[in-house]
C-alpha cells in the first residue's frame, strides 16, 4: 500500500469516528431533552421536599415562626418518649397487618371463584371493583351510618340473629378493627383484579399436565399449579396493599379523628395533626420521616423475603 492510501484510510477512520461520536452525542442530547422536564419535576416535587423534610426534622420550626433552630435529634427523642406516637405506630402496624392479609385472601378467593366458571363474570368483576373507584371519604360517611350502634344496618342484622352489636366506631376496643374492616372492603377489589390478570396468564397446559398426573381435585390444582404460578403477582399484591394501607387517613380523619383516646390514631393522622393542625413543622417532619421509613421498610422487607420464593 502506498503512503497516500494509508493516510486516507486513517483519515477515513477518524472521520467516521467523529461522525459516530456526533451521532451518539445527538442521540444523548435528544434523550436529555426528552427526560429533562421529568427530571426537573422529580427534583422539585419529590427529591428536594424529601430532603427538606429530613432537614426540618432536626429543627424546632413552627409554621410561620421567624426563627428556626437546629435541635439535633430532640424531635426524635421526644417522639420515642411520646405515648401517642407509639400508639400511632402500633395501630398502623395492626391495621396493615389486618388489612393486607384480609384483602389478599378475599381478593384471591374471589378471583379464583370468578374465573372458575364463565357465568356472570363481568358482573362480579364490576361489583367487587366498585369500592376501589368510589371516593373513600364519601363511602366512609355511609359506613358511619351502617356501623351506627342503634340504627346501623350491621347491628340491626346482628340483632336479627341474636347478637348484640357494639358501638363499633366509638369503643376503643373495636374502632381499629372497624376501620380495618372498611379498609378490607375497599382494597379487596384491587387485589382481586390483579389476581385475575395473574390467573389469566397461567398456561392451560400446566393444568392439563396436572390432570394427567392425577392432581386433579380443586385443592391439588391450586397447590401444584395456581399458587406457584401466582408467585410474582402475589408479591406485587402484598407490596402494593401494604404500601396503600399504611397510608390510611381518610377514614380516621372523618370518622374517629384518632379516637376514642387514640385507639384509632395512625401514623399519617399523627403527621397531619402535628404538622398542619398544630403547625409544628419540625416535629411533623420527624414523624414524616418515620412514616417514610415505615413504608420503605415494609416494602423492601417483603421484597427481600419473598423474592427468593417467587423465582422460577
Amino acid at each position: 500500500m502506498s503512503k497516500e492510501t494509508e493516510l486516507t484510510s486513517e483519515d477515513l477512520s477518524k472521520q467516521r469516528q467523529s461522525f459516530i461520536r456526533a451521532r451518539k452525542l445527538s442521540v444523548s442530547y435528544l434523550a436529555y431533552s426528552m427526560s429533562t422536564p421529568a427530571l426537573v419535576l422529580i427534583m422539585l416535587v419529590l427529591i428536594f421536599p424529601v430532603l427538606a423534610v429530613f432537614g426540618l426534622s432536626f429543627t424546632d420550626w413552627l409554621f410561620g415562626a421567624k426563627h428556626l433552630n437546629f435541635i439535633g435529634i430532640k424531635n426524635y427523642a421526644q417522639m420515642l418518649g411520646d405515648r401517642v406516637f407509639w400508639k400511632s405506630l402500633s395501630n398502623t402496624l395492626i391495621y396493615v397487618g389486618t388489612v393486607v392479609p384480609g384483602s389478599f385472601i378475599i381478593g384471591l378467593v374471589v378471583a379464583i371463584l370468578i374465573q372458575s366458571s364463565t357465568s356472570l363474570r363481568g358482573f362480579y368483576r364490576a361489583v367487587y371493583f366498585l369500592p376501589v373507584v368510589a371516593s373513600l371519604l364519601a363511602m366512609a360517611i355511609v359506613w358511619e351510618i351502617l356501623l351506627h350502634p342503634t340504627v346501623g344496618l350491621l347491628n340491626l342484622f346482628l340483632k336479627n340473629i341474636g347478637i348484640t352489636g357494639r358501638d363499633w366506631l366509638n369503643e376503643s376496643s373495636t374502632v381499629l378493627m372497624a376501620l380495618a374492616g372498611i379498609g378490607i372492603w375497599q382494597m379487596s377489589g384491587f387485589s382481586m383484579v390483579l389476581f385475575l390478570s395473574g390467573l389469566v396468564g397461567i398456561p392451560i397446559e400446566l393444568y392439563e399436565a396436572a390432570e394427567i398426573d392425577g392432581a386433579d381435585s380443586a385443592w391439588d390444582r391450586f397447590r401444584t399449579v395456581t399458587w406457584p404460578m401466582l408467585g410474582p403477582v402475589s408479591l406485587f399484591v402484598l407490596v402494593i396493599s401494604a404500601i396503600r394501607s399504611s397510608q390510611v387517613f381518610d377514614t380516621v380523619k372523618v370518622l374517629t379523628r384518632g379516637g376514642p383516646n387514640k385507639a384509632s390514631e395512625v401514623l399519617l393522622h399523627t403527621m397531619y395533626t402535628e404538622g398542619f393542625a398544630f403547625m409544628r413543622s419540625g416535629y411533623g417532619s420527624a414523624i414524616t420521616m418515620v412514616f417514610l421509613v415505615f413504608i420503605l421498610g415494609i416494602a423492601l422487607a417483603q421484597m427481600k423475603l419473598l423474592e427468593k420464593r417467587t423465582h422460577y
Binding site: 484510510s9 477515513l12 477512520s13 472521520q15 467516521r16 461522525f19 459516530i20 451521532r23
Partner: protein
C-alpha cells in the same frame, strides 16, 4: 438502482469479532445473497449497509459515493425486516404510504387536522395515494389496502413490507431473512415470486439468509460468510461446484458433503481409507489432507471392481424422487452418504456394497481448510487403475 461496494468492514461487539475484513463489490441490479449459519455476522453487515449499525473500520460506498456519514434515511435504501415491522396501528395503505409521506410532506403538512388546510397538501396526498394503489396492484394486494396487519397472513404481510420498500424506489433493497417466517410450501412459492420481482424491478437486491437452498435458487451471486469472514463469492454454480474453502463446501449443498481424511503417499497421490485415489498433488509424503465428495458423486461399484470402499448399508431415507443411503465403511469413523435412484439400484439395509468417488468431483482441502488443486497432466490420470 446502484452498485454497493463494501470495503474492508470490521465490526466487533465488545470482545466478540463479528465481521472481519469484509470486501465485496455488488453490482447495480444484481441479486446478491449473503448466506451463512445463524449468527450475528450477516444481519450485522446488512444493518451496517443500512446505517442502523456503525462499522469499526471500513467503508460503505453506494452509487460511488461514501455513505458512512449519512443517516439511514439519507442513504435511500429500503429494508425488509425478518419480522416485516409493519406498523400495527395503521392500515396496509397507510403502512405503504409512510415513506412517501415522510419524504414529500413536511412536518406542518403532516399534522392531523390542520395539515389538510395547507395549500398543495391535498394534491401531494392524492399522488401518494395513487402510487400506493399502483404498488399494491403490482404485488397483488390491492384488495387488502384497508386491512390492519393483524388481519393479514404471513405471505400477505411480507408483500406489504415489500410494497413499503418498493414505493421508495430506493438505490438498493436490503432483505433480512424475509422467508423464514413462512411455512415450507409458501416459502417455495415466494422464492419464485421474489426472483421474478427482482427481474421486473431490475433492482439491486442484497438478501440475507441462513438457508443455502434459497441462496442457490435465487441469487445471481452468493457470498458465503462463516465466522464473520467472507469465505467465497461466486455464482451458485461456482459456490456449489468449486468451493474454495472446506467450510463453504460443507455449508452449501444438501445433504451435507462427505468429508474424509486423506494422506499423501510417496507418489504424491492421495490415499483414503486404504483406497488410492488417482489425484496427483504437490504434497510431501505423509501430509494430511481432507477430502470432500458430494453424495451424488459416489458410484456404486460391481463387487468385482477395484478399487472400492466396502461397507454396510446402515440406513436408507426416502426422498420421493431419490433416496439417500448411509454406508458404514470399514476404516472410516463416520458414515458416507450417497444419493441413488431407485430405478437403477436396489439394495436394503445391512447389505454389503462397494462404493467409490468419481475422481473429477473430489475436492481436496489442506489442514487450514483451503482448497488444494490437484496436478492434472492428462485426462487419463483421472481414472482408477
Amino acid at each position: 438502482m446502484a452498485s454497493v461496494k463494501i470495503k474492508n468492514i470490521n465490526k466487533s461487539f465488545g470482545t466478540v469479532r463479528v465481521l472481519e475484513s469484509i470486501n465485496l463489490d455488488i453490482e447495480d441490479g444484481e441479486f446478491l445473497i449473503l448466506v451463512g449459519p445463524s449468527g450475528c455476522g450477516k444481519t450485522t453487515l446488512l444493518r451496517i449497509i443500512a446505517g442502523l449499525e456503525y462499522q469499526d473500520e471500513g467503508q460503505i460506498i453506494i452509487d460511488d459515493r461514501s455513505v458512512d456519514n449519512q443517516l439511514p434515511k439519507q442513504r435511500n435504501i429500503a429494508m425488509v425486516f425478518q419480522s416485516y415491522a409493519l406498523y400495527p396501528h395503521m392500515t396496509v395503505a397507510e403502512n405503504i404510504a409512510v415513506p412517501e409521506n415522510m419524504r414529500r410532506l413536511n412536518a406542518w403538512q403532516r399534522l392531523p387536522v390542520v395539515g389538510c388546510f395547507i395549500p398543495g397538501t391535498a394534491a401531494v396526498k392524492a399522488e401518494i395515494q395513487q402510487n400506493v394503489i399502483e404498488v399494491s396492484k403490482s404485488l397483488g394486494i390491492e384488495h387488502l389496502l384497508k386491512r390492519k396487519p393483524k388481519q393479514l397472513s404471513g405471505g400477505q404481510s411480507q408483500r406489504v413490507a415489500l410494497g413499503r420498500a418498493i414505493i421508495r424506489r430506493p438505490k438498493a433493497f436490503l432483505m433480512d431473512e424475509p422467508l423464514s417466517n413462512l411455512d415450507a410450501k409458501l416459502r417455495v412459492e415466494t422464492r419464485a415470486e421474489l426472483t421474478q420481482l427482482h427481474r421486473r424491478l431490475r433492482a439491486t437486491f442484497i438478501y440475507v439468509t441462513h438457508d443455502q437452498t434459497e441462496a442457490l435458487t435465487m441469487a445471481d451471486r452468493v457470498a458465503v460468510i462463516i465466522g464473520g469472514q467472507l469465505l467465497q463469492v461466486g455464482t451458485p454454480k461456482e459456490v456449489y461446484g468449486d468451493p474454495q474453502r472446506l467450510d463453504v463446501a460443507e455449508f452449501i449443498g444438501t445433504p451435507k458433503i462427505n468429508v474424509l481424511p486423506g494422506i499423501a503417499n510417496s507418489k504424491g497421490l492421495i490415499e483414503s481409507a486404504q483406497m488410492v485415489i488417482p489425484l496427483k498433488t504437490n504434497l510431501a509424503s505423509g501430509e494430511e489432507i481432507k477430502m470432500a465428495i458430494r453424495p451424488e458423486s459416489l458410484e456404486v461399484t460391481d463387487n468385482s471392481e477395484e478399487p472400492q470402499w466396502r461397507g454396510k448399508v446402515r440406513h436408507i431415507e426416502y426422498l420421493g424422487s431419490s433416496r439417500l443411503a448411509y454406508i458404514g465403511v470399514q476404516g472410516l469413523s463416520q458414515q458416507i452418504i450417497i444419493t441413488f435412484n431407485s430405478n437403477n439400484l436396489r439394495f436394503n439395509i445391512n447389505d454389503l456394497i462397494g462404493i467409490r468417488p468419481i475422481v473429477n468431483h473430489i475436492f481436496l482441502f489442506d489442514e487450514k481448510g483451503r482448497r488444494i488443486k490437484p496436478v492434472i497432466e492428462q485426462e487419463r490420470d483421472l481414472k482408477y487403475e
